[in-house]
């Protein structure tokens, strides 16, 4: 039975109704009744209402949607907001224009320096330097003398006090010099730039330690020394990083020697725990397609989940299948167990979703032949799916991702000092040395780096080849990503405690420095949190934790930031765009801080959590759990900003420079936190099987015998996307065959048209294929030696200021997404009146 709410609203007063002229109607009581009805209509009193309702209605008309009070009161508020937005937008544009004009002479200067750089003949200079310096450098001991003299000179430059004029001149000279140097090719200009930035940093550090540590109260001392400690951490990391990446080795693959009968045997391990078979299948197929004599390579699936479908799959494919009765020590234990069951001379390890190209072994094994002491060779971890940063911020394939710096530069730099460490996958290890150190290390959760440390202590060498020979899936969601990083941070802190690289024998000084940097890098949590909250000390409580005038601070900090950005952009620019390190660290800081501290104190505490691969984000959502700490920080920073504005205009008008500096710092933190919030807003992933974008020659065979030329624009194991010429007539559901090339040979695969747009982009899904066809497919797509070669061609060039602007935009976007998610959550929690009413009417 439908039940209607009596809302007490009569038909609208201005609804068209036959006008009843009360004066002309009937007579007597009927007439009075008509008068009453007419009055009831005008006053909008419901029939049968009590007597006081009539009086009330003389004064107050009933509420209707048009006459609601609250929205009408809020109307001016809305106009005010619209006006404010208008002013802000045009004000922003005006400000941008003004800044453009102000910076015009600086841009001229930049262009002049660039022009100067083209006149410098680097080749001749280098040849001259080689001719003169090389024979000199051969004199034993002279290198250390030169280093010593250089350090001494550097110390003098760093500790000479300047007044503001001197410091400004110094800054301008350094800046001009580095603008010229950054345009010159070669290693020496990079070294020179890094040296200049170290000088600027040294000057800043010296000034900071000597002239700005005088505090008036205990709390200021505590906070001040805390900030100094955080800054000292960054200085340490910069110095260690400079040494680590001073001379990237750029090792080329070594050619294989001898006949194929003399090549070593290789076991391929694919450890898996709870990943789905669809993810592991491609890796296994690609491993079977490796270019290596068939009798010298064996593939093994190491299944810690002991699943029946995996066993059947291994049997049908003809690969090995190894299980163990327990799951002690997770992946390390799994690998060690398999070590006992196999006997290949070399062991290639792939994570279950890292698909190797067929040239992996032919690229990697050469160095094992050339260098008998080589125990491990590592290749880059490449991801063909976007990680949470790239997906949620929309920077996939435009901006290099987080791992690009490590695999593109840092490991290359490590290689020069013989400090490349094992990263868990996409590597080849020699069995003998591995057994000597007792197999994969189980004492820490970062078993890979620890194993390499042990190998180095024994005097073995490791190698790194910076050519992508395998590719896999990135972490699927921010929570999975954070979980993985927590594990790495905890593991590195454990190693630092348990097997400190500075103690114990077997390592050279440079190896110790490289390992130390790898571990110390993960302690960024606390310092980053300090930097995000430091200005609040002044803005909230008026505590001065840096005891120096704001102008002097600016004069010392500015060259440091400027120089380090120029140096970083030159050295790291193609592997990491400027300012992105801040975003990565901001996102992870809170989560990494506690595990590293705990692990430093007691390495045995803490759980190990596995990263899940192959999960799907099917509905976009905002990860509230992960973003709670950022939300708190954001609120604090906004509050600090508000206090800062008040202080600027009312309370601390005699310390304008200090307030401005703190405000600027807070704005910077707010932008970075905004980008972090943006990462927490998970965008939708469309497919389970990630498509890899590419451009490959392809052919389309239709049933009627016609054959068309096509371009394959993306592929996965379940389907391809083809670009077909205009006017090709295809029907959805049509069965076709797709031809792809594997070297010279063309292989065809049965497929069905899934979607076809007139402009030519067509989506196809593969029909069930035989085992040979699946192997062929992997060889035509993932396992091509050149699949990943042109990956970074689509990256934008690093332009620091532009990058800062982009991050700022991402920050604003992050706040918008956060606000929208907040509104949506509120709306679903507290539905407004009209929504509730509509729900009631449905009964």
């Amino acid at each position: 039975m439908t039940y209607l709410h009596d809302t007490g609203v009569a038909p609208r007063a201005n609804a068209p109704q036959p006008q009843q002229d009360p004066a002309n109607e009937g007579s007597g009581p009927g007439r009075v009744g008509q008068w009453i009805r007419w009055l009831a209509q005008q006053l909008e009193v419901a029939p049968g209402a009590p007597w006081w309702m009539w009086l009330w209605r003389c004064l107050v008309l009933p509420a209707t949607p048009e006459r609601a009070l609250l929205p009408w009161l809020l109307q001016p508020g809305r106009w005010l907001l619209a006006g404010l937005v208008f002013v802000l937008r045009w004000g922003w544009k005006g400000l941008a224009l003004l800044l453009n004009g102000v910076f015009w002479p600086i841009r001229l200067f930049l262009r002049a320096m660039d022009r100067l750089a083209t006149h410098v003949n680097v080749e001749k200079g280098m040849r001259l330097a080689d001719q003169v310096l090389s024979p000199l450098m051969e004199i034993p001991g002279l290198r250390w003398v030169v280093l010593g003299v250089g350090l001494l000179a550097g110390l003098v430059v760093m500790t000479t006090p300047f007044n503001w004029l001197g410091q400004t001149l110094f800054m301008l000279l350094c800046w001009g010099l580095s603008l010229v140097l950054r345009r010159l090719p070669g290693r020496y200009p990079s070294l020179a730039l890094a040296a200049i930035s170290l000088l600027a940093m040294g000057r800043y550090a010296w000034w900071r330690v000597t002239s700005s540590i005088e505090f008036e109260s205990a709390i200021e001392s505590f906070l001040g020394y805390g900030l100094l400690a955080a800054e000292a951490y960054t200085w340490l990391v910069v110095v260690l990083g400079f040494i680590q990446t001073a001379w990237p080795l750029h090792r080329r693959p070594a050619d294989l020697q001898g006949q194929s009968a003399s090549w070593p045997t290789v076991d391929v391990y694919i450890p898996t725990y709870n990943e789905p078979l669809s993810v592991v299948r491609t890796t296994v197929l690609a491993s079977m397609a490796l270019d290596w004599p068939k009798d010298k390579v064996k593939v093994f699936i190491l299944d810690d989940g002991r699943r029946e479908e995996f066993r059947e799959f291994a049997e049908s494919m003809g690969v090995g299948y190894i299980v163990r009765p327990d799951n002690n020590h997770a992946k390390a234990g799994n690998l060690n167990h398999a070590l006992g069951k196999t006997d290949g001379e070399l062991i290639a390890i792939f994570d279950c979703d890292h698909i190797p190209t067929r040239s992996f072994l032919t690229t990697a094994v050469g160095w094992f032949q050339r260098d008998p002491k080589c125990a491990m060779l590592q290749t880059p971890h490449h991801f063909f799916s976007p990680d949470p940063f790239e997906r949620n911020l929309g920077t996939f394939r435009r901006v290099p991702n987080e791992g690009a710096l490590f695999y593109g530069l840092i490991q290359d730099g490590n290689d020069f000092w013989n400090a490349t460490f094992f990263c868990g996958s996409c590597a080849v290890i020699r069995r003998g040395p591995l057994l000597e150190v007792g197999g994969i290390a189980v004492e820490t959760v970062t078993e890979d780096a620890h194993t390499a440390l042990k190998l180095h202590r024994r005097g073995y060498t490791t190698a790194y080849i910076n050519e992508t020979q395998a590719a896999g899936l990135a972490t699927e969601s921010l929570s999975a990503h954070v979980g993985q990083r927590i594990r790495w941070a905890r593991g590195m802190a454990q190693i630092f405690r348990v097997d400190n690289p500075f103690l114990g024998k077997g390592l050279t000084l440079w190896q110790r420095i490289c390992y130390a940097n790898a571990m110390v890098h993960f302690f960024f949590g606390l310092p980053r949190l300090v930097f995000l909250t430091a200005p609040m000390a002044f803005l909230f409580f008026e505590w001065h934790i840096i005891n120096a005038g704001a102008i002097m601070i600016a004069l010392y900090v500015l060259p440091y930031i400027l120089q380090s950005n120029i140096a970083n952009a030159h050295v790291q620019g193609e592997h990491r765009h400027t300012f992105w390190a801040e975003v990565y660290e901001t996102v992870l800081a809170w989560y990494v801080a506690l595990p590293t501290t705990v692990a430093l104190i007691n390495p045995r505490l803490g759980k190990f959590n596995v990263t899940a691969k192959g999960g799907l984000v099917d509905e976009p959502y905002f990860d509230w759990a992960i973003s709670r700490p950022y939300t708190v920080l954001v609120l604090l920073n906004f509050a600090a900003f508000g206090m800062g504005i008040m202080r600027l205009f009312f309370w601390n008008t005699e310390e304008t420079a200090t307030v401005l500096l703190n405000l600027l710092w807070t704005v910077y933190s707010i932008l970075m936190l905004g980008a972090a919030l943006g990462v927490a807003s998970e965008a939708r992933q469309v497919r389970r099987m990630h498509r890899v974008a590419t451009r490959l020659q392809a052919t389309l065979y239709q049933d009627d015998g016609t054959v068309f030329q096509a371009v394959c624009i993306d592929f996965s194991m379940t389907g391809v996307g083809l670009e077909l010429p205009e006017g090709t007539r295809l029907a959805v559901g049509e069965k076709v065959q797709v031809g792809l090339w594997r070297g010279h040979a063309e292989c065809t695969f049965p497929a069905t048209i899934m979607l076809h747009r007139g402009q030519g982009a067509t989506g196809l899904q593969f029909d069930p294929m035989t085992r040979e066809q699946q192997i062929d497919l992997v060889q035509c797509t993932f396992a091509r030696p050149d699949t990943w070669r042109q990956w970074s061609d689509s990256h934008d060039i690093d332009r620091p200021l532009h990058g800062l602007q982009e991050i700022a935009q991402l920050g604003v976007l992050g706040y918008r997404k956060f606000w929208e998610s907040l509104l949506e959550a509120a709306r679903s929690r507290w539905p407004t009146g009209s929504q509730r009413k509509q729900q009631g009417l449905g009964a």
Binding site: Q697, F708, H744
Partner: protein
């Protein structure tokens, strides 16, 4: 003037198709081309605009002792065609005797042609071994041997080698082209693999796909490039044309992602 001979010891591999299409592609690139049909099948004109087999041709004229190139015509693509023409058994016999008496007859006639000096003459030949095919081999600067992707072709290794020994073209100008290739068929893929091993560098990197579009084009008396410019066979034929122009490298777009289509 450059003379290209399209020969094969196997029938039905597409010599006439190849001659017609290559002549059209060259003409489209601005090179004057003349397609001469030495094969009595008399089908060359069907690819190049004639809806019926040509009655006029060079065979009767040459057998009668007249100037052989009277029966030629130009088509709308700018290709000059000299078809065989209708010929009886006696005509063919007379022509064979002509060649026996004047082995250099074909070469002399070609040189006497009134065509620009930078044009290309393509010779469509009958099955080798045959006198006319031999004559074509002896006056050609470039030789294209057409083989289909089958066991027949891999078994013909000996005869193709003998064929090439009798050619006057330089070894660098001798190419083996695989035609009518359907990678959906296992036998074709295996045959191609075998042919690749047999011929190595002589094998032209482009393989001509078996494509219904060519048959459709023939039905309309066109070249496939006019009917369906995006057909795979059109792409392959363009590749062969590039090879003729001197680009001997493997096609870039086949192997390197990121390259754009030609």
């Amino acid at each position: 003037m450059r003379v290209i001979a399209v020969v094969s010891p196997l029938g039905g591999v597409g010599r006439t198709t190849l001659t017609a299409h290559l002549a059209t592609l060259l003409a489209r690139q601005g090179q004057r081309s003349l397609a001469v049909e030495l094969c009595a099948q008399n089908l060359l004109g069907r690819h190049l605009g004639m809806h019926e087999a040509s009655a006029a041709g060079w065979a009767r004229a040459a057998a009668d002792g007249q100037w052989w190139a009277e029966g030629g015509f130009d088509n709308s693509d700018g290709v000059r065609v000299l078809p065989f023409g209708e010929a009886s058994l006696e005509t063919v016999h007379t022509l064979h005797q002509l060649l026996q008496v004047q082995p250099r007859w074909l070469r002399d006639q070609i040189e006497l042609l009134d065509i620009p000096s930078d044009s290309t003459v393509l010779l469509d030949t009958p099955l080798w071994p045959s006198p006319w095919a031999q004559a074509a081999l002896q006056c050609a600067d470039t030789v294209l041997v057409a083989l289909e992707a089958s066991a027949r072709a891999s078994a013909a290794l000996g005869s193709v080698r003998a064929l090439l020994r009798g050619a006057t073209a330089a070894p660098g100008e001798q190419g083996v082209l695989v035609t009518r290739f359907d990678p959906r068929r296992v036998s074709h893929r295996e045959a191609l693999q075998t042919l690749r091993e047999q011929w190595g560098e002589h094998l032209i990197p482009y393989t001509l796909h078996e494509d219904e579009n060519i048959a459709r084009a023939l039905a309309r008396a066109m070249c496939v490039g006019n009917l369906a410019p995006h057909a795979q066979s059109a792409h392959d034929l363009q590749g062969v044309c590039n090879w003729l122009e001197g680009q001997r490298a493997a096609p870039a777009s086949m192997l390197v992602p990121g390259a754009t289509l030609p």
